[in-house]
């Protein structure tokens, strides 16, 4: 806190025993910045609505006002830099504790030092924000690979459970890659979904969605993929620790080959064995035929 008081001093800000409460939206947070500047006061905490409030501070409700938010937002690239605007946006999507206060402090610093703040990587506030954003970006990047779609007739759907709010980070990638497809990526943690149809896309609130049962063709491709996954590892080089560090276990739940809704690999193997005993190994050709059949049925 010492740092803020010092900086506040030069800006003639009053450290106050206040907490701000806002509606939890990005615009709402920008209004907190507006408020803080208007009254030259520094809140000790910023809470979003409905969040547990630990400190016994006098709380002030900050109303979200589009125009105020826009004024603050416009000033960031002008008075700091366009990169700072991106950093603030991504910082807001991260799940770092007390991100609001962190962003507020970063903006105080930015409005004081201007463009230079982006180089102040050794400053505690800048460092903490960079780290939070780095973490969000890293998780977003991991999800470019870890998202697993299931094909349900003409549409595809995937469920993810990320720590950060990463849908906006991965949106462009998937919408560009699957331009011609209709798909949905459902973020269970934040209860939102990215919906895409050719030519249209949006992130919308959605809660309690569960994926439908996979059809035969979908099951077949899941088995093929799980089989591929197990065949590609070299057993002489088995290295659980390395795997878990590159692909942490919390991602496994929604990945077909690890633990997906297709059941544990052992089960898939047992099913395969049974199938092999009963009939000649299915070829991909026959699989395609059955896929075509199910497609005409639906």
């Amino acid at each position: 806190m010492g740092g803020i008081q010092e900086r506040g001093g030069s800006l003639m800000f009053k450290p106050s025993a206040l907490a701000y409460t806002y509606d939890g939206s990005f615009e709402g947070l920008l209004c907190c910045v507006f408020e803080s500047y208007t009254w030259k006061e520094i809140p000790l905490a910023v809470h979003s609505e409905g969040e547990e409030q630990g400190l016994l501070l006098e709380s002030k409700w900050i109303e979200t006002d589009k125009h105020k938010a826009e004024r603050v937002l416009k000033s960031i690239p002008l008075r700091i830099s366009p990169e700072a605007e991106e950093l603030v946006r991504l910082g807001f999507w991260s799940n770092t504790p007390e991100k609001e206060l962190l962003l507020l402090n970063f903006l105080y610093l930015g409005f004081k030092h201007g463009r230079k703040v982006m180089n102040m990587l050794a400053d505690d506030t800048v460092h903490a924000l960079q780290k939070a954003v780095q973490q969000l970006r890293r998780e977003g990047h991991l999800y470019l690979g870890f998202v697993r779609f299931s094909v349900y007739g003409p549409v595809m759907a995937a469920v993810i459970e990320p720590q950060g709010y990463i849908l906006p980070v991965i949106q462009e990638h998937f919408c560009d890659r699957f331009q011609g497809e209709s798909f949905m990526i459902y973020d269970q943690t934040h209860e939102v979904a990215l919906i895409h149809e050719p030519g249209r896309e949006a992130i919308i609130p959605l809660s309690g969605w569960t994926p439908p049962e996979p059809d035969e063709a979908e099951e077949a491709y899941r088995r093929l993929w799980t089989g591929f996954y197990h065949a590609i590892g070299i057993k002489e080089r088995r290295n659980e620790r390395l795997r878990s560090s590159l692909m942490p276990k919390r991602y496994w739940k929604h990945m077909v080959e690890m633990n997906g809704s297709n059941g544990v690999p052992a089960l898939a193997a047992a099913q395969r064995k049974k199938a092999l005993q009963q009939e000649p190994p299915e070829s991909i050709g026959s699989l395609r035929a059955s896929l075509r059949q199910t497609n005409t049925h639906t």
């Binding site: 180089n119 470019l144 690979g145 998202v147 990638h173 890659r177 590892g233 070299i234 692909m247 190994p281």
Partner: protein, 437 residues
């Protein structure tokens, strides 16, 4: 299903896994895009990344290379995919986001030309009929006709020819059907095509791109007696002469009994492979040259120190460097400072003078870097530089654990084996002086 597993198991020793180097946006009417930084879609139980559907067209091969699981004389089950099956699997896996694209290789069917034609028909189906716009890595078959290889290169993002063994002698013994010439010829062709094509792109906007992600190769480590020095020199030559994008190293995993090869119970030399990758990084991103890292006198990497630490310990006259003044190139040579942290240092020192506390926040591994740097002219307070502390700090036992065989005899600090990395007698006092000055 079974077929996929056979042809995957046969391809798994190919280590190239990256999907990087091509940057292509999605297109209306086609499926897929490529990302310059590459995307790993999963990680196998051995910890290696899976980004491509890595399969062979067939594991039936007319060649008899001793190290290869698919050699003619090895009694394994054989299978083959049709081009349609390859294309279908790729599309279906890609839609589900299991993969970033296809890695297609093959055993030699009949002859190199026929095999290449098969590869071409699979890729033509994918690109022209299924409109697949994702990543494709294809193996160039040594000995195939130039015209066929050129057609193949126009369909793929990356093309590679495996060097397999680091010297002509080893190749002669273990892969009698291949020769240095047969491998380097297609490599040269690919290089020339890429070069020629990049000038075409300037002339004609719509010239199709020839292997836009470049070419790579791999060699097997530990199947032949070649030294790290030979391997690294060869690598450097490949980067320079053939403009390769990547050289991969594959610790030899014994798959067949052969009097010419290490016995079946030999553990793959994973630590050696790891050291070579570290050195490869130093060549590509840190401005090092092969002969700075190794020479005829010390032809192999130290198992206990990484190549950069080894180099630094042997070049104490260049240290310590002052963090607030040293050029970027010199920062990169400090153990414990990587490309990212060096960039951050350069950026952050424009805003403020840096101290040790700040370096930690920038991602510098002080445990290693402390012996080689000063901040504002001073070394880290309380820093003791003795043989013992320095070497202990530079050796990262825990990090190396995964690469060590489970039961290895305990290597002692003063083993002959790595005495080469130890500074000459008397050097320590000077080094300490240097660090305190």
């Amino acid at each position: 299903m079974e077929k996929l597993e056979i042809l995957t198991a046969s391809a798994k020793y190919d280590v190239a896994c990256t999907s990087s180097g091509s940057d292509r946006k999605g297109q209306a009417g086609s499926l897929g895009s490529t990302a310059a930084m590459g995307i790993c879609h999963s990680f196998a139980a051995d910890g290696r990344c899976i980004s491509l559907l890595k399969v062979l067209m067939t594991n039936a091969c007319v060649y008899d290379c001793a190290y290869c699981v698919n050699r003619k004389s090895n009694p394994v089950r054989r299978a083959a995919f049709t081009p349609e099956e390859i294309a279908d699997l790729t599309m279906q896996f890609y839609r589900r986001n299991y993969i970033e694209g296809l890695f297609l290789s093959s055993g030699i069917m009949r002859n190199p030309d026929y095999t290449t034609e098969q590869l071409i028909s699979a890729l033509e189906l994918l690109r022209n009929v299924y409109h697949f716009n994702g990543y494709i890595h294809v193996k160039a078959i040594p000995g195939a006709d130039d015209v066929l290889l050129s057609r193949l290169g126009l369909l793929a993002d990356r093309m590679s020819v495996n060097i397999e063994l680091p010297s002509q002698e080893s190749l002669g013994i273990l892969a009698p059907d291949k020769s240095k010439i047969s491998i380097l010829k297609p490599m040269g062709l690919i290089k020339d095509k890429i070069k020629e094509n990049s000038s075409d792109i300037v002339k004609y906007n719509h010239a199709p791109r020839f292997a836009p992600a470049g070419q790579s190769t791999q060699m097997i480590i530990g199947a032949s007696p070649d030294t790290d020095y030979q391997i690294l020199n060869l690598t450097e030559g490949l980067y320079r002469k053939y403009s390769l994008k990547r050289v991969f190293y594959s610790a030899y995993t014994p798959v067949i009994e052969d009097s010419l090869l290490p016995s079946l119970d030999t553990k793959p030399p994973l630590l050696r492979e790891h050291r070579l990758y570290q050195a490869d990084w130093l060549l590509r991103f840190y401005g090092f040259q092969a002969n700075e890292l190794l020479d005829e006198a010390v032809p192999n990497f130290n198992p206990l120190l990484d190549p950069k630490c080894s180099w630094a310990v042997n070049h104490r006259e260049q240290f310590p460097v002052e963090i607030n003044r040293a050029p970027y190139e010199m920062l990169l040579r400090v153990p414990g400072i990587g490309v990212r942290s060096a960039q951050r240092i350069v950026k952050a020192r424009r805003a403020a003078t840096l101290d040790f506390h700040a370096l930690k926040k920038l991602g510098v591994v002080l445990k290693r870097a402390q012996f080689f740097i000063t901040c504002k002219g001073k070394p880290l307070e309380g820093l003791k530089v003795s043989e013992h502390t320095l070497l202990r700090s530079l050796m990262s036992g825990q990090q190396l654990a995964p690469y060590q065989p489970a039961q290895v005899e305990q290597l002692t600090l003063f083993d002959d084996h790595y005495a080469a990395a130890l500074p000459a007698a008397g050097g320590w006092a000077e080094f300490k002086k240097g660090a305190e000055a």
